[in-house]
């Protein structure tokens, strides 16, 4: 961890404890001693398919955080079934890769994921779940997502400054985020 990253993460943690945002189980947050990894509980919002269900999000921060996005995935026994969440916990969400900006935070990522859950109309993993889970890298940041949104043409997404060693999986996702 760089000094800047540690300083920022300490501030984020203090901020989260102070604000205690709805839908996040801040008191149960587990952080590694160097703050490199966090596990945060999130609760599905009332009136949605996931109402009251508790899931765990795992954040892993690199030394270049917040300039590079954190690696975020669901872990634990219950992975939410959702058209953008694979059964191994990997999440297809553009702010976790090419739409990340340093102005985002752990809190805004959690809230985006919760809102993604809330807008779901069916509890189902993505159609390519089986093949993705069998072949993907354990690290979701190694996946190169292609977002086919309205706002851009087909465009490969990659993060210019991250560690790019290792195998890269290529999956095409239909996404309107």
């Amino acid at each position: 961890m760089s000094d800047a990253a540690t300083r920022r993460l300490m501030k984020e943690l203090a901020q989260l404890k102070n604000e205690n945002p709805e839908g996040l189980l801040i008191d149960n947050t587990i952080t590694s001693h160097d703050l490199k990894q966090w596990k945060i509980g999130v609760v599905g919002a009332e009136g949605t398919l996931y109402a009251g269900e508790v899931f765990t999000l795992q954040f892993t921060f690199g030394p270049q955080y917040p300039f590079n996005s954190p690696e975020v995935m669901f872990v634990g026994d219950t992975i939410p079934a959702h058209p953008h969440i694979y059964s191994n916990g990997h999440i297809c969400l553009s702010i976790l890769s090419d739409d990340w900006t340093p102005a985002l935070s752990v809190q805004s990522v959690c809230l985006s994921i919760l809102s993604m859950l809330s807008s779901s109309k069916e509890k189902k993993h993505p159609i390519d779940d089986a093949i993705y889970v069998r072949t993907c890298n354990k690290n979701p940041s190694k996946t190169r997502w292609w977002f086919h949104g309205k706002r851009r043409n087909i465009q490969v997404s990659f993060r210019p400054m991250s560690d790019r060693a290792g195998f890269i999986n290529v999956f095409t996702r239909i996404d309107s985020i």
């Binding site: 340093p102 102005a103 706002r151 790019r164």
Partner: protein, 275 residues
């Protein structure tokens, strides 16, 4: 030579195989390693160091231009070509001015506070943006209070974590300026993207190069007078083309001069004796 142009980035993936992607990744890794071999902000060097980068035979156009420019400019500070070079060159240029001009420094600190309030009002994520602004203001306050020597200031500007925090302030006010003047600037955004999206993906994200719109916005947001001295292969008057921003500031001595070579900006200094 540093290069952070878009040329190496793919625009279409339609025909790419996994092997292509792996190869591309290796190439990117190599470019990244080359970038990291040079400091974020180089020492001030005599301007003829630039001509030394070009072979007088195979790169005659650039070599000749570099020599022509050496009659006008005395020094150059190379900036790392990592996609942040425009913002970083402006950051360094401004900090250099502020270290010498106390009145301007105090004013710049005040403007920093105003921007912090304005960004929140414009709907930027509250505390993360304030965090970047506060970091920048504290840095300037330490200069004001004499807590940093000049050498320490440059140490900070060359430390990844610190320097990127400072740089983020400039990205945020660039974006803030455009959002604040949305009606004026929205027509310049390419179709299929809103100004908001443009700001988030092209300006607020690190390692994304500045284009004309963001350059204009940062100049206006900071109130600096900027000269861009172009050096490319085009036929140009002796010494090449230059462009002053804001536009109405033509023929006024600029605060900061940047040298533009295709895809990259460095900081250059006018030869005061020749003036």
């Amino acid at each position: 030579m540093a290069n952070d142009s878009d040329e190496n980035k793919p625009t279409s993936t339609a025909a790419m195989t996994e092997d292509d992607l792996l190869l591309q990744d290796q190439q990117l890794k190599q470019i990244e390693d080359e970038q990291k071999a040079s400091p974020l902000v180089g020492d001030k060097l005599p301007f003829y160091a630039l001509a030394g980068l070009y072979d007088p035979v195979s790169a005659i156009t650039f070599f000749t231009k570099a020599n022509e420019l050496a009659a006008i400019y005395s020094d150059i500070r190379f900036i790392r070509g990592d996609g942040n070079c425009f913002y970083r060159a402006v950051l360094v240029g401004i900090v250099e001015i502020l270290m010498k001009d106390r009145e301007r420094l105090i004013k710049f600190i005040d403007t920093g506070r105003e921007w912090m309030a304005k960004l929140v009002k414009l709907g930027f994520p509250d505390w993360t943006c304030s965090d970047f602004c506060e970091f920048f203001i504290e840095f300037l306050e330490k200069i004001r209070d004499g807590k940093y020597t000049e050498a320490e200031v440059f140490q900070n500007l060359n430390d990844d974590g610190t320097a990127n925090y400072l740089l983020m302030y400039f990205r945020l006010i660039t974006s803030g300026f455009l959002k604040d003047n949305c009606e004026e600037y929205a027509p310049f955004i390419a179709e299929g993207m809103t100004l908001q999206q443009y700001c988030e993906t092209e300006i607020e994200a690190m390692w994304k190069e500045a284009d004309h719109l963001s350059i204009m916005a940062l100049v206006r947001a900071t109130g600096i007078r900027l000269r861009i001295q172009y050096m490319d292969r085009s036929e140009a008057p002796n010494g090449g083309y230059q462009h002053d921003l804001p536009d109405e500031a033509d023929n006024v001595t600029p605060d900061i001069t940047l040298l533009y070579r295709p895809g990259h900006y460095d900081l250059i200094y006018r030869n005061l004796v020749a003036q």
